[in-house]
């Protein structure tokens, strides 16, 4: 007891200042890292600081950002979702199958495909959440199972082949760059992040997500049903996997049962680099966006610097580990500030 009171007196910081310091340590830290990395590559890598390259990065981070947005919800509740990559694959083949149905007008086909993607993803996510809460199984295992099942289902639905021939208007929208600087698919990603940010920050539901991740037993004894929020988080993760599948279709124009392999790991990496704690309860979805940016800037920058494809993953892996180490320090710092 007296230990804790010592910590209080150890850091007498005024509330306003504490708020600022908290912002600096928690949110601005990753942003600063992104700025530094970007400056570094701008100075060293040829072609890095060009508008063309910036556009390319925006296009490339769209899918991962959407996946990571849903992943943030799951990780905030203290879970993990390993299935999003193959759920994405399943959704791409479902969406593409719907879209190439010639009995539908292009507009109807696209709308139905979007709904089908989101529904498929949401159902997979719901199953993840429901199974893991109903039988109290770690989500790591349940979603590992779902990873395999969704991958198999994607092959069944597509008859193990790539689906092409999407409506031209859809393909055109995917290639659209609004105002010459904003790729349509990046806009989708930003909208998903914005929606997630709004929900987490301003709604009762968002508050409950944080509370459940902080201490689900205390939440239960306060008169709530924490399982509801856990299942909801997984459903959201599935839903964003469905949206990410649409983004995938917009960008690559094919539905593929082998799409999305390893995407879950990139999504998790973006969330963690963005400062969300793997043990739940702490983090921010804006951080996730920044985390996704950091990953892609690193990848592109290293490539432009001429670092071989073999070495690139080593550097990126190091950065992920470094981010988690920094996170541990950040926690310590935050405790002193509050």
């Amino acid at each position: 007891m007296s230990e804790t009171s010592e910590i209080v007196v150890a850091a007498p910081v005024s509330p306003a200042r504490a708020k600022f310091l908290r912002f600096l340590v928690r949110d601005a830290g990753v942003l600063l890292a992104l700025v530094l990395i970007t400056l570094f590559f701008s100075a060293t890598a040829p072609y890095f600081a060009t508008s063309g390259n910036a556009l390319k990065i925006f296009v490339q981070i769209a899918i991962n950002t959407v996946l990571a947005a849903g992943m943030t919800f799951v990780i905030l509740t203290g879970g993990i979702d390993l299935s999003v990559g193959s759920v994405l694959a399943l959704c791409t083949v479902v969406g593409a199958t719907v879209m190439i149905d010639e009995s539908l007008s292009p507009a109807a086909a696209i709308t139905l495909a979007l709904l089908a993607c989101m529904a498929t993803g949401a159902v997979c996510g719901f199953l993840n959440g429901w199974i893991s809460t109903r039988w109290k199984i770690p989500s790591f295992i349940v979603t590992l199972g779902m990873l395999n099942m969704a991958a198999g289902a994607a092959r069944v639905v597509s008859d193990n082949s790539t689906i092409t021939g999407l409506p031209q208007s859809f393909v055109d929208f995917g290639n659209l760059i609004i105002g010459g600087f904003l790729p349509s698919i990046f806009l989708v990603a930003v909208l998903v992040i914005a929606a997630g940010w709004f929900v987490l920050r301003f709604t009762v539901f968002g508050r409950m997500i944080f509370a459940v991740g902080t201490n689900d037993e205390a939440v239960r004894l306060s008169g709530h049903n924490p399982d509801f929020y856990k299942v909801a988080a997984f459903t959201i993760s599935g839903l964003t996997a469905g949206i990410a599948a649409m983004v995938y279709l917009l960008r690559l124009n094919i539905g593929s049962p082998i799409a999305g392999i390893g995407y879950e790991l990139n999504a998790i990496a973006a969330v963690i680099i963005g400062g969300t704690s793997l043990s739940g309860g702490k983090g921010s979805i804006i951080g996730t966006l920044v985390g996704a940016c950091i990953l892609q800037v690193l990848s592109t920058g290293l490539q432009l610097l001429g670092v071989g494809d073999n070495f690139k993953p080593i550097v990126i892996g190091l950065v992920i580990v470094l981010a988690v180490i920094l996170d541990a320090y950040r926690e310590r710092l935050l405790r002193r500030i509050r």
Partner: protein, 499 residues
């Protein structure tokens, strides 16, 4: 006086605050020296200086007339000072014997552990602390009291000259405390010097020779315990008189039955229990740790499953299958495990308070932060929670203030009956008194209050009635006019001593 340990003007400063200031103290060889103080008085800092976890910023410490400057806990151990910390440091998946001799396991050739020597030495050490138990048992299988004794045995295994016990009785039952005290007396008879830190004022008279009281990091006084009384100690600790700690309010007259429980049965093997609490009544629940008190309250609240039983609120039967049902019907549960089950430790004070009823500070699912802050500030002021702001994480509050936050969250919800399980555990005297006052305020508002506690004087001071649990059964009910410590204790033991 033959001095074994002396502190001279010892101080410790943390960034922004003085934790210990100019403390001079000498411990006589062979004495049992009690150290008292409220939370934050500097007891823990003092211990950590002795343990080598912190180093003093000023002053000198001498042990056996030699300068004592441990840089690490290991240094402290080597010098012959052993500390049994409040939170036990045993490895649950290793055997008792392995835990006892972890730092120097007896070895044979090639570094293979000599099991025979290990276990026989362990048996001898356990005998020292009166534990007759197979040393090959894993520590996880032991009860808290046994673990405590194993810790003490471990401390003895290093031929300690000075043993520091930090609140060893916090989680023990009366018979276990008795046993611990007889061991302490035995050790004392063997010449071991003991520094004993405690919260429980009544018990220190039984074992202590002298007492040192700390307040706000300063030494108030060192006195012989003989001739002192509990009120004397309280005055020294908090710097003022406390006439009646509990403040029983005789003007409050309990009204109609608020909550009644009939034939509550947890599972096939436990007997069914019935009890009731009135509006404006504080009902005490006494019994040993593990007598089924906590379990009964949790089952009633829907926190754990129950087999059978009828719960009535204001005369109407209600179905409680989960805590959310209980909360909807106006029940509140302050759990025994504040950190693990009561609080969102890493979240801010305001968010902890409003979690019970976010609907009140939101509209259409959107939070109204301004309304939330206002409501939280209101309760923080009303309950006098000491926090730098409502945005401070509750992790950084003291035990008493954390407990007030738990109370605040239930007051925010608007409760009709409160179930409080060990509401003052780990709470210092000052805050404890404030919690008592708050309970009287709630009783005056005609709320029903059920208070489970291991602290019998507290129950006798606070309650209108006490029901006593013994081995999952309610064995008696004692009205205030018949309160008697011995009678309640013998009821509590009733089912355990029966052949």
């Amino acid at each position: 006086m033959d001095t074994i340990l002396s502190l001279e003007g010892v101080g410790k400063i943390f960034p922004g605050a003085v934790a210990l200031s100019d403390v001079s103290l000498s411990i006589a060889r062979g004495e049992t020296h009690i150290i008292l103080g409220e939370n934050g008085a500097g007891k823990s800092t003092l211990i950590k200086l002795l343990a080598g976890i912190y180093q003093p910023d000023s002053g000198k410490i001498a042990f056996n007339d030699q300068p004592y400057q441990p840089k690490t806990p290991h240094d402290a151990q080597r010098s012959g000072i052993r500390i049994v910390h409040q939170e036990l440091n045993l490895l649950p998946y290793l055997s008792i014997a392995e835990n006892l001799m972890l730092e120097s396991l007896p070895r044979r050739a090639f570094g293979i552990v000599d099991r025979k020597a290990l276990n026989s030495r362990a048996v001898a050490l356990l005998k020292e602390v009166g534990l007759d138990i197979d040393p090959r048992i894993r520590v996880e299988a032991l009860g808290v009291a046994q673990m405590q004794l194993v810790e003490i045995a471990k401390a003895l295994s290093y031929d300690s000259k000075l043993l520091v016990l930090d609140e060893p009785t916090a989680t023990l039952t009366p018979p276990e405390i008795e046993r611990l005290f007889s061991i302490i007396k035995r050790l004392k008879a063997k010449g071991v010097t003991i520094i004993y830190i405690s919260h429980r004022l009544h018990e220190v008279f039984e074992i202590g020779d002298r007492v040192t009281v700390l307040r706000n990091g300063r030494l108030v006084a060192t006195r012989d315990l003989e001739g002192l009384t509990v009120p004397d100690l309280v005055r020294m600790m908090i710097g003022r008189d406390i006439a009646d700690e509990y403040g029983f309010d005789a003007s409050i007259v309990p009204g109609k039955v608020a909550l009644s429980v009939a034939n509550l049965k947890r599972d096939a093997s436990t007997p069914d229990i019935s009890f009731a609490v009135r509006h404006g009544e504080i009902l005490g629940v006494a019994g040993l740790v593990g007598s089924g008190r906590t379990e009964a309250m949790r089952a009633l609240f829907g926190a754990d499953p129950k087999l059978d039983g009828v719960v009535e609120i204001d005369g109407k039967p209600v179905a409680i299958a989960a805590p959310k049902d209980a909360v909807r019907h106006g029940l509140s549960l302050l759990t025994e495990d504040r950190k693990g089950q009561g609080l969102l430790l890493d979240m801010a004070v305001d968010k902890n308070i409003t979690i019970t009823d976010l609907g009140r500070v939101s509209r259409n699912g959107l939070l109204n932060r301004r309304a939330e802050s206002a409501a939280a500030n209101d309760l923080v002021g009303q309950l006098r929670v000491k926090a730098s702001s409502i945005e401070q994480a509750v992790r950084n509050l003291s035990g008493g203030n954390q407990q007030k936050v738990v109370l605040a969250k239930w007051l925010f919800r608007g409760t009709s009956t409160l179930i409080l399980d060990e509401p003052t555990r780990g709470v210092d005297i000052g805050a404890r008194r404030e919690i008592y006052q708050l309970l009287w305020m709630l009783a005056a508002q005609q709320k029903g209050i059920i208070m489970v506690s291991s602290d019998l004087p507290e129950l006798m001071g606070m309650c209108h009635r006490i029901v006593v649990f013994s081995k999952n059964r309610i064995v008696g009910e004692v009205p205030r006019s018949e309160f008697d410590q011995e009678r309640i204790l013998s009821l509590a033991y009733q089912e355990y001593v029966r052949p």
